[in-house]
Amino acid sequence: MRGVKILERILMTIPIIIGVAVVVFFFMRLTPGDPVDIMMGQGGAVSAGEMEQLRKEFHLDQPLYTQLWIFFKDAAHGDLGYSYTQKRPVSELIAERLPATIELAAGALFFALLVAIPIGIVSAVRQHSLVDQLSMAGAFVGISMPAFWLGIILILLLSVRLNWLPVQGRLTFGVNLEQITGIFVLDSLLAGNWAALADSVKHLILPSVSLGAAPAAIIARVLRSSMVEALRQDYVTLGRAKGQVEFLVVMKHALRNALIPTVTVIGLQVGVLLGGNMIVETVFGWPGLGRLVVKAIFVRDFPLVQGAVMVYAVTFAMANLVVDVLYTYLNPKITL
C-alpha cells in the first residue's frame, strides 16, 4: 500500500520537473545576448556562413516550441545537450562536477546534524540552563551570518593564521587518488588510501562548516522546541512513573516524536544546501556544479544552465520525497 503511495508521489513530482524545465528553457531563450555571438567571441573572427552553420547545429534557427520539443526528446534519452562554451556534452560536464557538489552538501549536512541534534536534545532536556542559553544564542548568530563571510573568517583564522587546515580545493597537489565515485572521501575509504582520506577530509572541513552552520542553527532550534513540547506530554510522565530509565524515556519516546517536525525542516534545509553551495564553492575554490552553473549563466550557455538547473530541481524534489516518506515512518498516523 505504501509502495503505491510512494509511486504516486514520484509521479506527481514529474509535472513539477517538467514545469521547471520549461521555465528554465524560456528564461534562457529570452535572455538578451545571442549565444552564437558569445561563442564567436571566443574563437575570433568568423564568417557569416559559419555562424549560420552553428545556429543550425544548435537548433537556434528553429521556432521556440520546436527547440523545446527537441530538448525534451533528448533529455528522455539522457542527452542534455551540448555546452556552447565548454564544447562538451552537458551530461558529461555535470557528471564530472556533481560528485564534488554532493560531497560538499553531504559534508555540510553531516556537520549540521552532528552539531544540531545533540545540542537540540541537551538544550531541551536542560531547558534554561547555561548550555541551553549559550546554544540558542549561538544558533541565533548562526542564522544571522552569511555563509560566504563565515567561510572567509574561517579561512583567515584556521588556514592563514593557524595553518591547521588548507585554504582551497579538494585535494593537495601531489596526493594521488584513484577516483571511482568522484567523492574523494568515499574513494579513499574504498581504496584504503589513508593519506588521501586524511587530505580530502581536511579539505572538506571548512567548506562543510561554512555551508552547514546556518542549517545547523535552524535544525537545533526546531529540535529543541519540539523536544520541549514532547517532554511535556503525558507519555513522558507515564514513562517516568513506570520507572523507566530517564535516558530511554528521552531518547526513545520524546525524541521520536520531536523528530517529526525536525525532519521536515531538515528536508527544507537540503534546498538551502543546494542553493548555497554555489557561494561556498566560490569562496573555497571547490570544483563543483555550483561554480560551473554561475559561470555558465554569465556566458549564456543555455544547455549547460538548463541541464544543471534540472539536476538541482530533480535533486530537490527527490529530497522532499525522501523527507515525506521518512515522515510516515516516524508518525504512522500520517499517510502520504
Binding site: V20, V24, F140, S144, W149, L274
Partner: protein, 311 residues
C-alpha cells in the same frame, strides 16, 4: 427607526468611530511598548536597527570621506587601533584608498533599502494573491498554488542568480529577483490563515449584513492576519539582506563602485592575507544588522503571535 441618516448624523457617527479607533490604537501601542520593554534583547535589536537606519539616512552628514572615490596613496591602511593605522580612517581603507567606515555606512543604505523593498513588495503581492486564493478558492487558487509549488522547486539562490543573469545586474533587477521568489512565502501564509478564518462566524455575520467580499477581506479578515504577516516580514528581512549580500558577492547584485557589503567582501578577498579588514569588517556590519533584525523579529513574534513559534 429612521430609514435614512442625515448628512450631519453620518459625519458625527464617523467622527465618533474615528475617536474610538484612535483610542484603541493608542492603547494597543502602549501595551506593545510595555511588552517590548520587558524583552531587553528585542529592544536592543530594535535600537540597533534604528541606529543603522539613522546612519543610513544621514550618511552624507556623518561621514567625512567620499564613498566611491579614493586616494590611492592611502590604500590598504589598517584600522586605527592597529599599527600603521590612521585615526582619520577609523576602520582602515580598501584597495582603492576609500575609507572603509564611510563605505560601510553607505552600504547600509543599500542593504536596508533592498531589504525593505523586497519584503514590502513581496508582502503586497503575496498578501493580495494569498487572500484572493484563500477566499475565492476555485481555479484561481489552483493556478496560483501550482505556480507557487513550481517556484518552490527552485533553491532560492539558484533562482535569484538565474533571474539576475536574465535581467542583468543592478538595483531594480535585484529587487525583482528577490521579490519574485519571496512573495510565495507570504502567499502561503495568508492563504493558510484565510482558509482558517473564512469559516468563522464573524465572516458569516458580515456577509449577512450585506458587506461586499472586498470589504470583508479588507475590513474583517485581514486585520486578524496582518500581525503574522508583520512578524514573518520582519524575520524574512534578515534573509533578504543576506541574499542581497550573497548576490553582490558573486558580482550579480549591486555593481561597484557603489558600496554594497557583499561586493566589498568579494573584492577584499584578494587582499585577505595582507589586509584582513577589507573583507572582514563589512561582514561584521552585516552580521550585527541581521542579528538585530532577527532579535527584533523574535521579540515581535513573542508579543504578537506566539503561534508562529516553530519556524
Amino acid at each position: 427607526m429612521e430609514a435614512t441618516t442625515s448628512g450631519a448624523n453620518r459625519t458625527a457617527r464617523f467622527l465618533y468611530s474615528l475617536r474610538i479607533h484612535l483610542r484603541v490604537l493608542r492603547r494597543n501601542l502602549a501595551n506593545f511598548w510595555i511588552e517590548l520593554r520587558s524583552r531587553p534583547l528585542a529592544l536592543l535589536g530594535g535600537i540597533v536597527v534604528l541606529v543603522y537606519v539613522l546612519a543610513a539616512i544621514f550618511a552624507p552628514q556623518i561621514t567625512a570621506h567620499d564613498p566611491t572615490e579614493g586616494d590611492l596613496r592611502q590604500r590598504l591602511l589598517p584600522p586605527a587601533w592597529v599599527d600603521g593605522g590612521d585615526p582619520a580612517f577609523p576602520l582602515g581603507t580598501d584597495e582603492q584608498g576609500r575609507d572603509l567606515l564611510t563605505r560601510i555606512i553607505y552600504g547600509a543604505r543599500i542593504s536596508l533599502v533592498v531589504g525593505l523593498l523586497a519584503v514590502g513588495i513581496s508582502v503586497g503581492v503575496g498578501v493580495t494573491l494569498g487572500a484572493s486564493a484563500g477566499y475565492y478558492r476555485g481555479p484561481l487558487d489552483q493556478v496560483l498554488s501550482r505556480f507557487a509549488d513550481l517556484l518552490l522547486a527552485f533553491p532560492f539562490l539558484i533562482f535569484a542568480i538565474g533571474v539576475m543573469a536574465f535581467l542583468g545586474p543592478g538595483f531594480t533587477n535585484l529587487i525583482m529577483a528577490l521579490t519574485f521568489k519571496e512573495w510565495v512565502e507570504f502567499f502561503r501564509l495568508v492563504r493558510g490563515e484565510m482558509l482558517a478564518e473564512k469559516p468563522k462566524e464573524y465572516v458569516e455575520a458580515a456577509k449577512v449584513v450585506g458587506q461586499s467580499n472586498l470589504a470583508i477581506i479588507a475590513g474583517e479578515i485581514l486585520p486578524n492576519i496582518i500581525q503574522s504577516v508583520f512578524v514573518v516580514g520582519t524575520l524574512r528581512m534578515g534573509t533578504m539582506i543576506i541574499m542581497e549580500a550573497s548576490l553582490s558577492f558573486l558580482g550579480l547584485g549591486i555593481q561597484p563602485p557603489t558600496p554594497a557589503w557583499g561586493s566589498m567582501i568579494a573584492s577584499g578577498r584578494d587582499y585577505m592575507l595582507s589586509a584582513w579588514w577589507t573583507s572582514t569588517l563589512p561582514g561584521v556590519a552585516l552580521l550585527i544588522l541581521v542579528l538585530s533584525i532577527n532579535l527584533l523579529g523574535e521579540g515581535l513574534r513573542d508579543i504578537l503571535d506566539p503561534r508562529l513559534k516553530v519556524e
